[in-house]
Symmetry: C2
Subunit: 460 residues, 2 copies
C-alpha cells in the first residue's frame, strides 16, 4: 500500500495548496471527476461567462428605454457555449496534466476515495478496475459538494439537468422549468430568459433568494414575477415526460407546469457523506459537513478539511482562504493560523445583481440588536438617473453610533460596489467617517454608497 | 443701493451653501445664465445620461463577441435628448423658482455681476435694462467656468458647438469634428460615435487624455485611433463652411478635415476674468483663477471663492466640498475649517472608462520618488474573462513599503472600482493589508484590485 506524506482529496481549492514549498513532500491528489473543481468547471467561472452574455442580451432587450431601438437577430448558443468551454476545458486539462505528469512529487489518483481507516483510503478508479488503497501522514478533505435533486424528480426517469451539465446543452430549449429559489436558480433563470428561453421558476419556499435580507428577498421576487412565470410555495411532487418530449411537473396544490427542459437547482450537498468518514472516527455535522475547528482541523490527528465539504460558506473566496490557512498549518504545524469568517461578502449574478455582507435586518431584529438603516435608491443618485434605474437600491444597517453591521445591494454593479463596505467593516470604519472622509466621484455610481451612509439616522 | 449680509455669485455649488441656518441672513444670489450651474445643466449630469445611452448602444454594437447577434434599428436622438432635458430642465426651473419666489430671505438677481469695489457689485440684467448695484458684508464667488474656443474658430463665422449646446442638437449630424483631446472631447466622441455619427477627433497635443497617467494616455489614444479618425499634433488654423453646409477645418501641416457639425471641447476657463475682480484688489492666478487660501478666503476681507472659478480642480465633487467649507466658515468665522485636496479621484466617462486617484507614474519618476507598480489586466481576472475584455487594466503605484501612491483604471466600471483605493489611501491603509485583510467576492470585478495589489513587488 503506497504511503504519502499528504493526500488531498479533491482537485479544486485543495490543489492550490501545493506550491514549491511542498516540492520535497510525497503528495497524492485524488479526483473522482473533472480536474479543477466546481468553481472552474461547473460553477463560478463558466456561470459568470454565461451571465455576462445574458447581461448583454438583456441590455439589447432594454435598450429602447434609452432611445436606442435594438433587436436581437440571433442567439448563437453553440458559440456562447463553445466560447466558455474552449477557454475552461483546456485549463482543466492543463491542470490535470501538470499534476499527472509534470509534478514529480505528486501522484494523481483518478477515482472516488472512501476512508478505510484514520488516514487510510480506498480509491475506486473512475474508469473502473480494482480499487487502490493508500495511506498518508496527513489528509486534506477538499472534496466539495454536489447538486441535490428531489427524489420525485431523481426517481421519475424524466431527463433533467443540474448546474453540472445545463451549460453544455446542445440547443436552447423553447421552454425551461427551473426548480429552486436560491442563487443558482436565480442566475440560470436570468441566463436562459435573456437568451430567449421561456422560463418557469418553481420553488418550495414563499419567495426567491430567501437567504438574503428580507427587503432584497421581497423586491427580487417581485421583479422575478414580472419577468418569469414564478410558482412559490410549490413543492414538486411528480415528474413525467409526454411522448412529444414535453416535461410535466406536478406541484403540490398548484396543478402542473410544462417545459422542454428541466433544470434542478435546489441546492448543493457537501460530499462528506460519500466518503465513509466515520471510518476515521469523524461524525458529520447535522447539515452534512465535515466538522473543523478554527485551524481547519477535523479533530482527527492529521486530517484537515476545507471548502464546500466542511465550510458553512459554499463560496470559492472562502474556500481559497481556508486553503491558504491549511497550507500554512501543514507547513507550520507549531504556529497554526486560524480562519477568519468575519465579513464574508457574497453575490448573486442575476438580473438585477445582488450582493451582501454582514447581518440582515431580520437577524438584527431577531437578536434584539439596536440598529438604524437606510435604503438608498439607485434612481436617486445621478448615475442611477443616467441608468434609468427604477428598482435598484443599497440598504445599509449600522449601530446607532455608526458601526457598520450589514450592507445589501440589489442593482447594477452590486458585486463591485459592496467591496467599499466590506473594506470599511473589516477595518472598523464608521459610517460617518467613510461617507465624509473621502471624495466620491460625481456622478459615479459609488455616490449610492455615500448617500446611503449619509442617510443613516445615527445617534452621534 | 441694496445691501445684503451675503451675496453669492453663481447658482451652482454656491447655491448649496444656503440651508436653514441662513434663514435670518439677507442673501442675494446672482446668476447670469441658467439656474443651477454647469454640473446640472450642461455638465456632469446630462453628459452621463448621454454617455449611458451610448454605452448601451455600444453594447449592442459589440454584442456579437458574446454570441449575441444584435443590431441597432434606430437611434431616436430626439427621445434621448428630451429624456435628458425633460428631467433636468424642471430641476433647474424649480431651483430658480425656489430662490426667486419661495425663499423669503433670498433675492435672486438674474444678470452678470462685475465688481465695482471690495464688496460692491454691478449686475447687468440678462434680459437687458439698467444695471443694478448692490453691496454686501460677505461675497462668495462661485461663478464657475466656461468652454474656451480657439480664436481661429470663434472668429471664423463657422457655426460650432460647445458642451453648452451640443446636447440640444435638433438632429444628429452625419459627421462630427471634435476639437480637443481632454475628457470632454473623449466623452462626446464616444457619445456621438456610439449613436452612429462619424467622428473625427482633432487635438493639438500628441495624444488624448494627456492629463492621465502615461500608460492610460498611451492606451486610450491607441483605442481611440481604432474607433475614430484621430489627428494628433494637429492645431486648427482656419475654419470655413461650404455652400452645402460642410464644415472644413484646416490643420497646421495636416491638410483639412470635414464634418457636418463642429464641436469645440478644448477646455474650460474660470470665469473670474469677466468680473473685474481687480476692483476688489484681487489679482487672478496665472491660470486665471481667483486665488484662495485653505479656508477658501481670497485674501480680501469678506470675499470667499469656490469651485471652477478658483479651484485647481474643475470637478463637482471638489466644488461641493469647498462649498461645505465656505458654508461652515461663513457660519463659524472664529473656527474655520480648511479644505482638503488630498486624494481627489476623477473619471472620464468615455469608452473605455478611465478613473484615477493620486500620483501618476511620470510624477513619481520626475520627482525621483521610490515606487513600485503593477499593471493588472481585466482579462486576467475571472470577471474580465466573462466580459471578454482585452484592453482594460488597473495600474497601482505604491512605495516599496506598500503605501499607496496612485491608482489608474481604464475599463468597465473604472469609476466605481477606484473608490476602494480612494478609501484605502485616505485611511492610510497599505497595499498588503487591503489585499489580504478582506474577502473579495469571487468572481466579481474587484478581484482586479486584489490582484493588482498582490502583484506589487513590495519590499516588505
Amino acid at each position: 500500500m503506497p504511503h504519502h506524506d499528504l493526500v488531498i482529496i479533491g482537485s479544486g481549492s485543495g490543489n492550490s495548496i501545493l506550491d514549491s514549498r511542498f516540492d520535497d513532500w510525497d503528495v497524492a491528489i485524488v479526483e473522482h471527476g473533472v480536474f479543477g473543481g466546481t468553481c472552474l468547471n461547473v460553477g463560478c467561472i463558466p456561470t459568470k461567462m454565461y451571465v455576462y452574455a445574458s447581461d448583454v442580451a438583456q441590455a439589447v432587450r432594454e435598450a429602447s428605454a434609452y432611445g436606442i431601438d435594438a433587436s436581437i437577430d440571433k442567439v448563437r448558443w453553440p458559440d456562447i457555449r463553445d466560447r466558455v468551454f474552449s477557454r475552461i476545458d483546456p485549463i482543466s486539462a492543463g491542470g490535470r496534466r501538470y499534476r499527472a505528469s509534470e509534478s514529480p512529487n505528486v501522484t494523481l489518483y483518478e477515482g472516488h476515495a472512501t476512508f478505510t481507516g484514520e488516514r487510510e483510503l480506498a480509491v475506486a478508479p473512475t474508469d473502473g478496475g480494482a480499487a487502490a488503497t493508500l495511506s498518508a501522514d496527513r489528509v486534506v478533505i477538499a472534496a466539495g459538494s454536489r447538486p441535490t435533486v428531489p427524489a420525485c424528480i431523481a426517481e421519475s426517469g424524466v431527463p433533467f439537468h443540474t448546474s453540472d451539465d445545463v451549460m453544455r446543452l446542445d440547443d436552447l430549449p423553447r421552454r425551461m422549468i427551473v426548480v429552486g429559489g436560491g442563487y443558482i436558480a436565480a442566475e440560470f433563470a436570468h441566463v436562459f430568459d435573456a437568451l430567449g428561453v421561456d422560463v418557469t421558476v418553481v420553488t418550495r419556499g414563499p419567495a426567491l433568494l430567501r437567504e438574503q435580507d428580507e427587503l432584497v428577498t421581497e423586491r427580487f421576487t417581485a421583479l422575478a414575477r414580472d419577468r418569469f412565470t414564478v410558482h412559490t410555495d410549490a413543492a414538486p411532487t411528480a415528474a413525467e415526460q409526454r411522448p412529444d418530449g414535453t416535461i410535466v411537473l406536478t406541484l403540490a396544490g398548484q396543478g402542473t407546469v410544462e417545459g422542454d427542459a428541466l433544470l434542478v437547482a435546489t441546492g448543493r450537498a457537501p460530499n462528506g457523506d460519500r466518503m465513509d468518514v466515520a471510518k476515521t472516527g469523524l461524525e458529520l455535522t447535522d447539515d452534512g459537513r465535515v466538522p473543523v475547528d478554527e485551524y481547519q482541523r477535523t479533530g482527527v490527528e492529521g486530517i484537515w478539511a476545507l471548502g464546500d465539504v466542511s465550510s458553512p460558506y459554499q463560496l470559492k473566496h472562502v474556500a481559497n482562504h481556508e486553503a491558504r490557512v491549511v497550507q500554512h498549518n501543514l507547513l507550520h504545524p507549531d504556529t497554526p493560523r486560524a480562519t477568519s469568517h468575519r465579513f464574508v461578502p457574497s453575490a448573486v449574478f442575476s438580473h438585477p445583481q445582488v450582493a451582501a455582507v454582514g447581518q440582515r435586518e431580520q437577524d438584527l431584529r431577531d437578536a434584539g440588536t439596536a440598529y438604524v438603516s437606510k435604503v438608498q435608491a439607485y434612481g436617486d443618485v445621478a448615475f442611477g438617473w443616467a441608468m434609468e434605474d427604477r428598482t435598484g437600491f443599497a440598504k445599509v444597517l449600522a449601530s446607532p453610533d455608526g458601526t457598520l453591521l450589514g450592507a445589501h445591494f440589489m442593482g447594477p454593479q452590486a458585486s463591485s460596489l459592496i467591496q467599499v463596505l466590506v473594506q470599511a467593516m473589516v477595518f472598523g470604519q464608521k459610517a460617518q467617517e467613510v461617507a465624509t472622509g473621502q471624495y466620491w466621484i460625481h456622478p459615479a455610481l459609488p455616490e449610492l454608497i455615500e448617500n446611503a451612509l449619509l442617510g443613516l439616522p445615527l445617534d452621534v
